[in-house]
Symmetry: D2
Subunit: 341 residues, 4 copies
């Protein structure tokens, strides 16, 4: 089959031919139709320090996808050939304290497809049946193919109290933009989104932000909307140090900061002033709650109260991987997807 492969340690990805995956008895084989491209894929493409420390080539890359089930292991009872599906890309042990208490998203033995084992930028992928998530008939492969990052946004937003809340979303990459739409659907009273890029701010407005402003204007927007008090909730989606500091500044006393954006380096924070004396709560967001987040996501889509499609700005075939990476790193793109088949 065709696959985008990191063949050896070093920059770049190569579209090449590899053997079809062989499934275990508790796995299914999925024909990939559409696959989302993530910042993680860019790190692997560029072979940055994180990628060098984590990835062991050769590896098929990619972890966001949707497709059709074409083969089913004989221990599998709840997935059938022909099912339209996406999948949770975190493969967990299912037996540890975390998995057994509803916290599988932080299972210490997690293996991620496209990072720790072969991924989805390929014609086929093997997945444990327990990770497979069925798509409604009305959900396109394209939307199915971005359930992973949408799920990050749902996890980030819905573990805060959104109905009636004033919310600041720092960073309008794809996950931040999804979060704007989710907060809108969930009854946020005021959504202030910030980013340095005008294209993204326009998308934020389209997804429902009341204010979509340059970070330099975020403080004034927050103060105007909250009588100077600060927002109830910040969803930090950028990982940019200045944004994290602003998040800490603009969340109100007793408020909540959800941190999803990953800073590239350690960061200096005034815990006394910004965390302790303000009495705030900070929650680190990784992956998706398994499977509370997935159920909520399917429900929002089914109800038609959240539509991620405006966020998808670029579609490429697998062989245009260099173009895909280029538009992402430009900072101008919303969500970028591969149309695989």
């Amino acid at each position: 089959m065709r696959a985008l492969v990191k063949p050896t340690a070093g920059p770049g990805l190569v579209l090449t031919t590899v053997p079809d995956p062989v499934i275990r008895d508790d796995e299914v084989l999925i024909r990939v139709r559409c696959a989302g491209v993530c910042g993680t894929d860019v790190h692997i493409y560029e072979w940055d320090r994180w990628a060098q420390g984590r990835v062991r080539p050769p590896l098929v890359v990619g972890h966001e996808f949707a497709g059709d089930v074409v083969e089913v292991g004989h221990l599998v009872t709840d997935v059938r050939i022909g099912d339209r599906v996406t999948a949770e890309g975190h493969i967990v042990d299912g037996r540890c304290l975390l998995c057994r208490t509803g916290n599988a998203h932080v299972c210490p033995h997690t293996r991620i497809i496209g990072v720790d084992r072969d991924g989805c930028f390929a014609d086929y992928i093997a997945m444990p049946a327990t990770n497979v998530w069925h798509l409604d008939d009305t959900t396109s492969y394209e939307v199915g193919g971005i359930h992973d990052p949408m799920g990050n946004a749902f996890h980030t937003a819905l573990t805060a109290e959104i109905p009636g809340a004033n919310v600041l979303i720092t960073g309008c990459g794809p996950i931040g933009l999804f979060a704007v739409g989710i907060c809108k659907a969930a009854g946020a009273a005021r959504i202030i989104a910030s980013d340095v890029n005008e294209t993204r701010l326009a998308l934020a407005r389209r997804m429902g932000a009341h204010d979509a402003v340059h970070p330099g204007a975020a403080g004034a927007a927050v103060r105007a909307a909250t009588d100077g008090l600060g927002v109830d909730v910040v969803l930090e989606m950028s990982g940019v140090p200045a944004a994290i500091r602003q998040a800490l500044e603009l969340v109100r006393v007793g408020g909540r900061l959800q941190m999803l954006g990953i800073p590239a380096a350690p960061l200096e924070v005034d815990f006394a002033r910004d965390v302790i004396f303000k009495g705030i709560t900070i929650y680190g967001v990784v992956g998706r709650r398994m499977y509370d987040t997935w159920i909520a996501m399917s429900r929002f889509l089914r109800a038609g109260i959240f539509d991620p499609t405006p966020v998808i700005t670029h579609r490429f075939p697998l062989d245009a991987v260099d173009d895909a990476m280029r538009v992402i790193t430009s900072g101008e793109a919303g969500k970028v997807v591969f149309e695989v088949a």
Copy 2:
């Protein structure tokens, strides 16, 4: 001043002239503009058993209102003459374990205006400043005048987890109808409303219900929407025994039942089958959380994501009290208000 008074033990209310209220140092005097009529007022009007046991005539009736502040006690610091306001009608002691732990809505020493002390169906009412709630400039006196029952609906809905939930609302009186709109704004995936009255079902559809059905059809609607599992949340707004039993039947295992409607008599329930083996949670809703509910309510109104005005179906002057009571007991009305001044 004019006031609707229960002069002596017995049915009826009389519009008469009484002395203007005199305020204490920590109170304010409010010129009433608009006042909502509640089922409680009907009980007092009809002088049913509950009213006979609780109310001590003579009494000015009415507990839902909005108006303008016209006088301010000298200990009051945060309310000014000319402020447009409504008020929480539960006057609590502020010192008990409940008041000191965020549960003032169940303070055992609560005195309710229009029930335990003079109320708002009058030209003026005296209120403790701590109970006064400011209205936004964009909120009409009419909407201000129904903050109390709207608050009941916000309390009922927002103490459950609404975003993404399948919700059944049993009973489409005014509070049930408000709850439909609140759940819609807060991202409920599916809202099924039930009532015996077609006018109210039409209002439920207008407020955002996906299904608005006769109770006999509620089971089928719930099963169709939930693969037979039952809804995540039931908001029981009727107090009708058959509806409460249906609520217990149609809430899913592990789900949540919010009980606001007040049954007229004790009720037989199969706790083994419907509560224990299903592992559900039941929450009794009384009043409004002080003042979390009020803040959320103001936020929803300010954001324009919830509009209660379609629910207001009848407006009367104070001297049409008999007409007002008649339309409420007919079961055909939405919310009924007095236009006082």
Copy 3:
């Protein structure tokens, strides 16, 4: 092997010889050492209406046990021959909305050992590996053999807020007695236990109750300990209608009622007075949270802060089943166990 069997529809159990269980690839075979006897077993023994509707003979009875793993299916990775274990007796589907959101204890497809498939009053039992729970070396088979009902008590107590709480426990059967000890260990400020039986009240005192009283004296004890307000939490462990009504009466406004005891018939409750106007929360307790409850239980045992052994009052060999049933129905016993091997 030997097994206590319900051979045909009708009262009684017979100790007989049956074939050894055969395990599936994802199961393990366990040599039973000790097994707890539960009220459910009494229902099956007596062949009451519930048993007639649920149980399909022939069936090996019993669902509480501990023992040694003697055989392991080839798909099993985390259980080994020789492991000392007990097990969660609810065999769930693992794939439904409930199982996927941390609510497997109310999975609608639950099959219970000793009720819906062969149980543990036998020399051997086959269990899915996923249900197996390892015992610490310091935990005896006897204590291991009562993890199921202890787990019910942990589930009931720890889903309320116990540290600093005033707690009423209605019913001092084994689970109620366990709950006394758990609340004591978890920092309850005051524990009032009620029962009609003096032996059980003495055990309640031994497990840490501050007051252990006849139900007729419970009201006075609660009022004395709470300035007349009522307790923060009631754990209803009896299923007796009078106790449930008393629980509703003695829980304070805004308090919490955990219902575990199973009433034999529908029950009349004044929801207006006792649930709605009091603003209480009721939680139906079934089984054990999988596996939060099990982790907490192991932690309490390991820490030595909870010791269930005083509750175990009678030990019998399997062939003394009639004696075991007799002491349970006498109401005089604490926990009764079979010493199997």
Copy 4:
């Protein structure tokens, strides 16, 4: 009356004579019997940068105390002359969003006694009646005089889930030591306390720590107790940068970090590795929840499950202020109190 006063900007405190406080109509006058000395008082004594920025001399210092009510303003209804009391030292506005939603402990308009208005190192102090907290007859003035820091410990511990938890407490100053005892009473499975000082470690053992170790040994102790996973909860009581970093390292994935110790300067943290990828929750602890914390504290004391007295190591008269400050800064002391009268 006698009072310890900061007369002008600069180091030191002076015991001098000042006029008796005059109470407002909603205040009471309290004869101080015992007063706790806090790190905050040391900052003011030493006149460090924080004190220079916050305190406006002349000022009577001190914010922890207990005593007898000797005069009552005429608006006060729930405090009487002769009552034995302590008080919440945060005087809040009672009207803001925070105060109205159960978050008065972070009211932006808080004024603290002994910092922003005259304090309790004096014969008398005036307090708003709403801040007064009654002591049980069995609670000594000495224990009453340290309710403020004990309350900090209760707030820190009880906003985490303690029953059954493995807990690391970094820093065994008085508040850390109180927290050890609270966690013990509330059913922590394992309590690991760390400090650099042997005297304090001995006190930690006495208060119930299973392990009381030098910070260099904390990692090994945590790993041994948790199979290498990390603790469920860290209570960070030191404010020391190395301890905060260790707290982040030793809390398990999905765990909770309660930050009370106040770092003297901004601190560099690896949010990606330690917060986001671990999926932890951080809660900033300031003051005491008003008044949930106070109720819990009174309940623990009344039940006799928590005894703070071993933590009190030094008692001084007011005129030994220099000695008191010296023993605190030595790092050898537990809690230090003034015996005022």
